[in-house]
């Protein structure tokens, strides 16, 4: 790889970009216009709000622990205040103010001085304005008293006619700052990502569309050099966009806060945000380039990139979510981490641990994305778009038989079943009612919405079933391996759930709903719905069809991708990680045993264990007590406390032994021609502690 070539390509890409009006629009005009507009809108809203506030009277709840008629009179005479007498010490009306009159002995004096406690909510503009009005009235009163009675003997009274205390019920002191601290990170993250979008498409798909890709490929520049040169230019544009946004945003921020409040974001915070922006820019530059490389035209690339951008919207918006705080786990989640870190910095919170975690994890993802982009550029199938889109809406007789589905077809099936589960499974609820609506619905969903569509689509595509679904007999050793892996995963998943519990708590309704179904329904029906159906149907889809569709990737990439997709399919944050872990293990087992059956077995045992433990929790506890493990073990099984390290170490050891066995006794790859297209197609995943099929999530959601 020659630095000179990278530089030459980088400079040329930059020159082209500067000459392109569209990029400049997004890059420069965007921030330069957006923030002043934001500022103007904000100021105007503020003015309108201000005018409205002026008109409204404040309700003052007056609680007299000790009566001070003069004070009460002063407050009542104020036209903006409406006095309501109350005996309650709590402020129930969010928009009101509670004024508590009491007495206190003034310093070095016998006499009692009125003590006024003003209770309000700063986050409520009406309440806050009311407080200001009350204070102003008290101030006025206090001045009048001082002016009216000049008596040196009563000096103390003149200096301290009233003792005023304030009590703010809002937790956040700076309302305005907190609003900006919440919205601006989201805008910054989204604008930065948007900054990468256009140049990433332009330098890859755009180049293909204009027919210049062959020109550059015929030059002596290596493919790696081309990608890095292009990437650098995308990255620089992305950073410049981010930088301009940050500058415009900081100015706006200072402007607004300078006008209406006292505190501004420290300079160090801005620098920190800027540095954190680097890995984010690298990540999205590389990711969008990689995705666009697949497309033939600019428009097609836009179609691919836009969903990514939309997917980023939700995590970016997490900064607006009150009470959603950055923790170690969220530090590892792309986009969310950056959005929340920015908010912390905006709020003046610096936690080195978070900064390092966010920076490190984002850099890691960025490196992977960049690697992927280079790899794709070396793949002539992707580069020349030689792969045809998958067959759909094509008459079946026109399709030729093939050994396995394509990637597009596999992804399509996953999306289809997901949509079916989401929209159709609620409708299945009434079809068949047992002791609980939950159990029958799971069975119907598994077979009708997963198994049936997958098998039907496979039949339509004329794929080789034996190959696609790995319907091969497995060696006995792999059955043994499935048992070992099950045992290991069971404990590791328990521990994983405990580890994740602090970050992503399991909703109570979710587990209650499952355990209700498990306990009330007929045992064998529960086994059918929670263990047998998921093991057969989900394995057919994930370790069958999907794994076969991932055939173009290397084995490890297939195993990991399969696991991750399996996890994501389970929708809820608290289920994704454990389920993905199980998915990776099953996928590994299926890939190396070349048979789906050990995978189904592992999935079955995993889910069966959960069913038994949920249904017979009392008996289990009794049993555990009998054998002397008692309360401690029951807590482990409930996911309430960490497992002892010996048990974790043993499980990890067994996991390694099981995996090694699977690998050691893998059947020879019988395929000729080397590539792993169809040979070791299906993998399988299994699920994490109290999780079964995706339908359950849908149910719990409702």
């Amino acid at each position: 790889m020659k630095l000179r070539n990278i530089t030459v390509i980088f400079l040329k890409e930059m020159l082209e970009t500067i000459r392109d009006k569209r990029t400049l629009m997004v890059m420069v005009l965007g921030p330069v216009l957006v923030y002043p507009i934001l500022l103007l809108a904000f100021t105007q809203l503020y003015t309108v709000q201000e005018a409205r506030l002026q008109k409204l009277r404040t309700t003052v709840y007056l609680r007299e622990k000790k009566e001070w008629p003069e004070l009460k009179k002063a407050l009542s005479e104020e036209p903006d205040l409406k006095i309501v007498e109350t005996a309650e010490s709590r402020l129930k009306d969010d928009a009101g103010v509670l004024v508590e009159l009491d007495a206190r002995r003034a310093r070095e004096e016998e006499r009692l001085v009125p003590r006024v406690m003003v209770v309000y909510r700063q986050t409520n503009v009406y309440s806050e304005r009311g407080k200001e009005r009350v204070l102003a009235t008290l101030e006025k009163y206090s001045k009048e008293v001082t002016r009216g009675e000049v008596d040196l003997r009563k000096k103390e009274r003149y200096l301290h006619p009233i003792i005023i205390e304030e009590k703010n019920l809002s937790s956040r002191p700076e309302q305005l700052q907190s609003v900006l601290a919440m919205t601006l990170p989201m805008i910054l993250v989204l604008m930065t990502i948007a900054g990468a979008m256009y140049p990433a498409i332009d330098t890859t798909a755009g180049e293909k569309e204009r027919g210049t890709i062959e020109t550059i490929l015929a030059s002596p520049a290596g493919r790696g050099e081309i990608v890095y040169g292009k990437f650098l230019s995308v990255f620089v544009i992305c950073m410049v966009t981010g930088l301009l946004n940050l500058a415009a945003m900081s100015l706006t921020f200072i402007h607004i806060l300078g006008a209406f409040s006292e505190s501004i974001v420290p300079f160090a915070g801005v620098v920190l945000v800027l540095v954190s922006l680097i890995p984010l820019a690298v990540l999205f530059s590389a990711l969008m380039m990689a995705v666009s490389t697949y497309a033939r035209t600019f428009r097609e690339a836009q179609n691919y990139v836009t969903p990514i951008y939309l997917l980023c919207l939700v995590p970016a918006m997490m900064s607006v979510q009150r009470g959603f705080e950055l923790n170690d786990f969220l530090c590892l989640m792309p986009v969310i981490n950056m959005s929340l870190l920015f908010r912390e910095v905006m709020e003046g919170i610096y936690r080195l641990r978070h900064i390092l975690l966010v920076f490190a994890s984002t850099s890691l993802y960025a490196a992977a994305a960049l690697r992927g982009a280079v790899k794709l550029f070396r793949d002539e199938n992707a580069l020349f778009s030689l792969e045809k889109p998958f067959a759909l809406f094509v008459r079946r007789r026109l399709l030729r038989a093939k050994s396995s589905p394509s990637l597009g077809e596999a992804v399509f099936v996953c999306a289809l079943t997901f949509i079916l589960l989401y929209y159709v499974s609620p409708a299945l609820e009434g079809l068949w009612t047992g002791a609980s609506d939950y159990v029958p619905e799971v069975i119907l969903s598994e077979w009708l919405l997963i198994f049936l569509p997958v098998v039907a689509f496979a039949g339509y595509l004329k794929v080789d079933f034996r190959n696609t679904f790995s319907l091969r007999a497995c060696r006995p050793v792999h059955i043994l391996a499935a048992f070992l892996l099950f045992g290991a995963c069971f404990f590791l998943l328990l521990e994983l759930s405990v580890l994740l519990r602090d970050f992503l708590p399991l909703p109570v309704e979710f587990s209650e709903r499952i355990s209700k179904g498990v306990k009330e329904e007929h045992f064998w029906l529960v086994v059918l719905s929670m263990a047998v159906s998921p093991a057969v149907c989900e394995e057919t889809m994930f370790r069958g069809f999907l794994l076969a569709g991932l055939g173009k990737f290397s084995r490890w990439a297939r195993i990991l991708l399969n696991g991750i997709l399996f996890g994501v399919y389970h929708v809820f944050f608290f289920r994704i990680v454990p389920t993905a872990f199980l998915g990776v293990v099953i996928a590994f087992l299926v890939v190396y045993s070349r048979s789906i059956f050990p995978g189904m077995l592992l999935h079955l045992m995993n889910n069966l264990a959960i069913v038994v433990l949920l249904r017979y929790s009392e008996q289990t506890t009794l049993f555990l007590r009998k054998i002397g493990l008692g309360e401690k073990a029951a807590e482990w099984l409930d996911g309430k406390s960490h497992l002892p390290w010996e048990l974790i170490a043993a499980s990890a050891g067994i996991l390694i032994v099981g995996a090694a066995m699977t690998w050691q006794f893998r059947p020879a790859d019988r395929q000729v021609g080397g590539t792993n297209t169809l040979a070791e197609t299906p993998l399988r995943t299994f699920e994490a502690f109290p999780s079964q099929g995706p339908e359950k999530e849908e149910i719990a959601k409702r």
């Binding site: 000179r4 390509i9 020159l15 392109d20 204009r210 890709i213 030059s219 002596p220 399709l399 030729r400």
Partner: protein, 246 residues
Amino acid sequence: MIEVLSLSKYFSDAKQQEIRAVDAVSFECYRGEIFGILGPNGAGKTTLLRLIATILAPTSGTARVCGYDVALQPEQVKKRIAFLSGSTGLYSRLTPLETVRYFGRLYGMADPLIKERARAIFDVLDMEGIRDRQVGKLSTGERQKVSIARVLIHDPEVLILDEPTAGLDIVSGRAVINFIRTARNQNKAVILSTHYMTEAEEMCDRIGLLNAGRLTAVGTTGQLLAASGASSLADAFFYYLDGKQN
């Protein structure tokens, strides 16, 4: 100069069926020779030339350009070739001068040398007037001149031209043909593909007939006519086409 040895390229289509775009093709092209590859659309001409230009990697077999293997030493091959095809577009936001400079730099040339070569090439192609206008604003013929200037900047030993006259009017087409003949006279090896029989007959020293990925015949126009007993190259072409089918 160019030796193509049993070169093959297979693709798989949507139904994962194997398509043999180039199937065990072998031929040589010498210095000072124009070797024409003649074939109908979809015969595999472009894929064959892309393989020689190292843009695609062969499924099996190989080709050597100036003694360098396309699969093993693609960088060395790229330095010595000029590749021009219908799909080698130009960057529309760069000027001809910037285009030529960009590629010159990628070929590792120093800026003064690029300047000198560019001036000479622009002079020959009569492009001085357009050198500072953005390529996007040029006519098709002018753009083809820029493409030619681009491939000549590093003084390549081998020219690989995929339908170089396609879509050009008669004036621009003539300019291209002149440039190809000049290159031959400078003792360069030229491989060009075309589906115009007359162009092939007129320009090429030897012709290879390509059909469905296979080279069905190689020889001078005279040899092809004699062997097939046909009176025109077109007839000879159909003779070999049918021969394969039979």
